[in-house]
């Protein structure tokens, strides 16, 4: 177990294994998103209340899921980095944060667009949108803090601590915002409870969610690999690699 963790922690080993895993995640992401979006946009039935505008759910919900998961990912990476001093975890956190912020933004934007036909306005202080907005601020804080330190190591540590503080707070924030806005729509999709939407709408959504996750993993692997090369540029194995590839 420990040996495995430390092996995973070696940038060189991670660089090798991620090269083998990466293509599969890209293929899965492209397939899932292609099938899911065609199915969801063209074949799934229209909502009996919202008509076709509900189809934005196929972007909104996966992005919102991913936005929250990535923050948990940030906190876990931060913990691994602080406790076991595994640098790859920090490199992953560094590339995941902007991605998470982008996903949060997509969720917010698609929510706003969705709001036009549903509520007749671009922005409602709806519980879910408000929580997403706060999440965006949390992401921006983590990114800004990392960048504010002149020493990269200190920035990494500070961002890790902040991500962990944030992840403890997210459930509290979510609960209090829900409480504050008790008249919100119930979250339309959860993996654990039975879906309240028709199966025909549900399946493409599941595919899209999985596709988004695969896309996220593939992109994170790719960008972490770049980050490894950038940070380890002076190490012998990277120089050997550069020589081999010409």
């Amino acid at each position: 177990m420990w040996a495995f963790i430390h092996k995973l922690g070696s940038p060189k080993w991670f660089y090798g294994i991620s090269a083998r895993m990466q293509p599969w995640f890209w293929i899965a992401a492209v397939l899932l998103i292609a099938v899911g979006s065609v199915w969801g946009l063209a074949f799934a039935p229209a909502d009996y209340q919202q008509g076709n505008s509900f189809r934005i759910i196929y972007v909104h919900v996966p992005a919102a899921f991913l936005a929250q998961s990535i923050f948990v990912g940030l906190a876990v990476s931060g913990l691994v980095f602080l406790v076991w001093k595994i640098k790859v975890a920090d490199m992953a956190a560094a590339v995941m944060a902007p991605l998470g912020a982008a996903m949060t933004f997509i969720a917010l934007f698609s929510g706003a667009v969705w709001g036009v036909p549903t509520w007749g306005t671009w922005w409602m202080w709806d519980a879910r949108l408000t929580s997403m907005l706060i999440l965006l601020f949390l992401y921006l804080g983590v990114i800004a803090l990392r960048g504010a330190f002149s020493s990269r190591d200190s920035g990494s540590r500070a961002a890790s601590v902040l991500a962990m503080v944030g992840v403890i707070n997210i459930p509290i924030i979510k609960y209090s915002v829900d409480w504050w806005y008790t008249l919100h729509q119930p979250a339309s999709f959860t993996l654990t409870s039975r879906p309240s939407m028709p199966v025909d709408m549900w399946w493409p959504l599941l595919l899209m969610v999985l596709g988004f996750y695969c896309f996220f993993i593939a992109l994170t692997l790719m960008r972490t690999r770049n980050e490894i090369l950038r940070r380890e540029a002076s190490k012998r194995w990277v120089r050997d690699l550069a020589r081999e590839e010409g």
């Binding site: 060189k12 020493s151 990269r152 190591d153 940070r231 380890e232 002076s234 190490k235 012998r236 194995w237």
Partner: protein, 214 residues
């Protein structure tokens, strides 16, 4: 009971640059050890590692044979560290400053002890003046008064001679010597030549900035 601070295969990497690698250090009772090296060679970083402030290093630290991570609090109870900044509150008087340090060290202390310690660094008459009205050298002396006030066997001093006058330097040198003779030990960095202390053990740093290799 004697004490020993040991570092084995100590290495510190900061932002992809190795400050030092494979450093073995051993400091026991009665020794004065001087860390030498040009600016930016990691002297302060090494002192911070050896005083238990920085956990970001490779290698092992031992205090009396026990791994540092386990006995950190015991180690800190035997350490007196003076950093670049004197650590003196400008709005407090020298006496109040020392009282806080004594309490922080877990000691009761009384005013007479603190007065005596201040007299030892020639601050008699300044005991009740807010430190903001004192000079940089006097602030430094308040910090140095802790050496006499709080009995600790291991002193880690980062540039202790900064800002003090010639007499003060001579007094501090004598103080270091007396400390070593009593069985204490001193680890310091300084640009002074410390001739009166005789031949000291030296730890040179900064033999060219080495890049990380794996």
């Amino acid at each position: 009971m004697t004490f020993r601070l040991e570092a084995r295969r100590l290495a510190c990497e900061r932002d992809d640059r190795w400050l030092f690698t494979d450093l073995d250090i051993e400091i026991g009772a009665g020794e004065i050890v001087r860390i030498e090296g040009p600016n930016g060679s990691g002297k302060t970083t090494l002192l911070k590692i050896l005083s238990g402030q920085l956990a970001d290093y490779q290698g092992e630290l031992f205090w009396c044979g026990e791994p540092m991570r386990r006995v950190r609090v015991d180690f800190l109870a035997n350490l007196l560290y003076l950093g670049h900044a004197p650590g003196v509150k400008a709005a407090l008087t020298p006496l109040e400053n020392l009282a806080w340090y004594q309490a922080l060290a877990g000691e009761q202390g009384n005013e007479a002890e603190r007065m005596q310690a201040l007299a030892g660094v020639r601050l008699t008459g300044f005991e009740d003046i807010p430190a903001a009205q004192l000079s940089a050298g006097q602030l430094r002396r308040i910090a140095l008064a802790r050496l006499a006030l709080i009995q600790r066997p291991l002193w880690v001093l980062d540039e202790p001679f900064t800002a003090i006058d010639r007499e003060g330097v001579a007094e501090l040198e004598q103080r270091l010597l007396a400390h070593a003779q009593r069985g204490g030990s001193v680890l310091l960095t300084t640009h002074h030549d410390l001739a009166p202390l005789g031949e000291l053990r030296r730890i040179p740093l900064g033999t060219g900035a080495r890049h990380a290799t794996q």
